[in-house]
């Protein structure tokens, strides 16, 4: 059951800061998880279409092919803008 976090404008657009999901069979990386979440439709589709979506797995910046397993903490967010 990976924990999924959403931040900033994405959190607002999805109306959710976090959720715990059951990882569906066949989903093993960031790309697969995005496809699974985008299939919810509506605002979730932007996860698949946003050109600048960022993802971290276990608090490290991740890439589309980074693996995702049951105990992971996965975060989606827009490009950072601190400092």
């Amino acid at each position: 059951m990976p924990k999924i976090l959403y931040f900033a404008s994405l959190r607002e657009a999805l109306g959710r800061a976090s959720e715990q999901i059951e990882l569906p069979p066949g989903v093993g990386d960031v790309t697969g998880l995005i496809a699974f979440l985008a299939a919810r439709g509506g605002p979730w589709e932007q996860l698949a279409t946003l050109g600048n979506l960022r993802c971290a797995v276990n608090q490290e910046m991740a890439k589309p092919d980074s693996p995702v397993t049951g105990g992971d903490e996965v975060a989606f967010f827009p490009p950072v803008s601190g400092g």
């Binding site: 971290a56 827009p78 950072v80 803008s81 601190g82």
Partner: protein
């Protein structure tokens, strides 16, 4: 090496004193303080708020500070970043670097803030006369961070 994320303001003099105390033998202290600007894209800013990713933020800041210590001979590094609601003129971030030599201190200080802007999970939301909006990452920040190359 010290990195902190906090809502409260920080005391620049205290940070510099700690930097100097922790950097025995240093001949150069370079500090950067980022302030909330009162203008953004021509619109007056009345306030802003900073969201972050607790846990990852501290890890990212420590990784950036550690990378600076590997790249330059540094005696001490301190980073403090505020989150939450901030008004124009308020301090946002402190980066302090102590080194035997000033060239290393300037380079490391600039590296840390440039890299923080693209790798640490903070997001700014501004309230201006034109309404509230999330601040988009600046292409200039990507370019500034890109100057430092891959780790």
């Amino acid at each position: 090496m010290s990195v902190r994320v906090q809502e409260d303001d920080f005391d620049v003099a205290a940070e510099l004193a700690e930097l100097q105390a922790g950097g025995a033998g240093a001949g150069a202290l370079v500090s950067f303080v980022g302030l909330v600007r009162d203008l953004s894209g021509g619109a007056a800013v009345s306030e802003m708020s900073l969201e972050h990713y607790p846990g990852m933020t501290e890890k990212a800041l420590a990784a950036i500070a550690g990378e600076a210590r590997r790249r330059w001979p540094l005696n001490a590094v301190r980073v403090v970043h505020r989150v939450g609601r901030l008004l124009p003129g308020e301090r946002i971030v402190f980066v302090g670097v102590a080194s035997a030599h000033r060239g290393a201190a300037f380079a490391a200080g600039e590296f840390i803030i440039d890299t923080l802007k693209t790798r640490a999970p903070f997001w700014k939301r501004e309230v201006t006369s034109a309404g509230a909006r999330w601040v988009e990452a600046h292409a200039a920040d990507d370019a500034a961070a890109g100057r430092w190359g891959e780790r």
